[in-house]
Symmetry: C2
Subunit: 178 residues, 2 copies
């Protein structure tokens, strides 16, 4: 049996806590709720599935909170639930491949945010069709430019996130990075 000094364990625990806290803070600034980001962080760095109770315990959060955010993460496709045979409890495990994670996030944000935005912009463009005042012209031009931009972004992201390409992607991007 190999030795794992208590001090090393403490050092690791501290690093893990730091990571979870920071990932949570980052989430906030990207419009993602702190707890959700923390749970995600915790699952990413834990090499085995965790139960709701373990998540509650680690992060000192309530059952309701843990439950809801785990569900959301599953909804995003970033976490999957695992049922062990013979156990009634549900366990959760995060996708650990960063490129797959990236593709998943791109795909979801595209669906949840970019596509609706395009619809809204198109609506705005339509509403002023045919108006002749200079103000109307300015409005129409700007909304149309934004709309085209979003459509291009949408198309580019579709290509980038095409799941069967997630193996090539790191390679391609690293090349792009020069």
């Amino acid at each position: 049996m190999s030795e794992i000094p208590a001090s090393e364990q403490a050092q690791l625990d501290a690093a893990r806590d730091e990571f979870v806290a920071q990932w949570g803070a980052m989430g906030s600034s990207w419009g993602i709720n702190r707890t959700m980001a923390q749970i995600h962080a915790l699952l990413m760095i834990t090499p085995r599935p965790l139960s709701t109770d373990e998540v509650m315990e680690e992060l000192k959060i309530s059952r309701g909170n843990a439950h809801m955010n785990l569900r959301d993460l599953v909804g995003w496709g970033l976490v999957r639930s695992v049922i062990r045979k013979g156990e009634r409890k549900e366990f959760f495990e995060a996708e650990r491949d960063v490129w797959k994670m990236f593709c998943t996030i791109v795909r979801e944000r595209k669906r949840r945010e970019i596509e609706p935005a395009i619809a809204v912009l198109k609506g705005c463009v339509d509403r002023v069709e045919g108006l002749e005042s200079p103000e109307a012209k300015a409005f129409s031009e700007q909304t149309q430019a934004l709309c085209e931009f979003m459509e291009t972004a949408d198309a580019v992201l579709s290509r980038v996130a095409r799941s069967d390409e997630s193996v090539v992607l790191p390679w391609a991007l690293k090349y792009l990075a020069k």
Copy 2:
């Protein structure tokens, strides 16, 4: 003098309000404060610089709020202030070129969010260097993968946002979009 029927004006106003409201809502979901996004929207679709008072009036917000958010927008480089000769008031005008806007946002988010994130991740990697337990190994591998990912993203975005390329960019991306 050309005719601009009141109904057309009303139609335009409604469309403008809709656009401002929706852009504000979009901002929220991207972690940007609603008012800031609304001011940005308003300035984008107004073909002349506006004063703080005009912004307050249009959006029905307080002076303090208008002021702070205008400052933030200037800080992001999305809005510039214009001083007309002979006038003491300050006016504000948004960048209208969507590709320049895009580059500005990329550059700022990179600086404010990606770079600090890389620093944090590096810190986490360092803290567990040399630890041997399997848990430590898992942690170290995951943080390292995230760190490399962020560095690649950082490099790619640097290239994309290089300001002198903002003319080629639309072309390049439209090509990428297939």
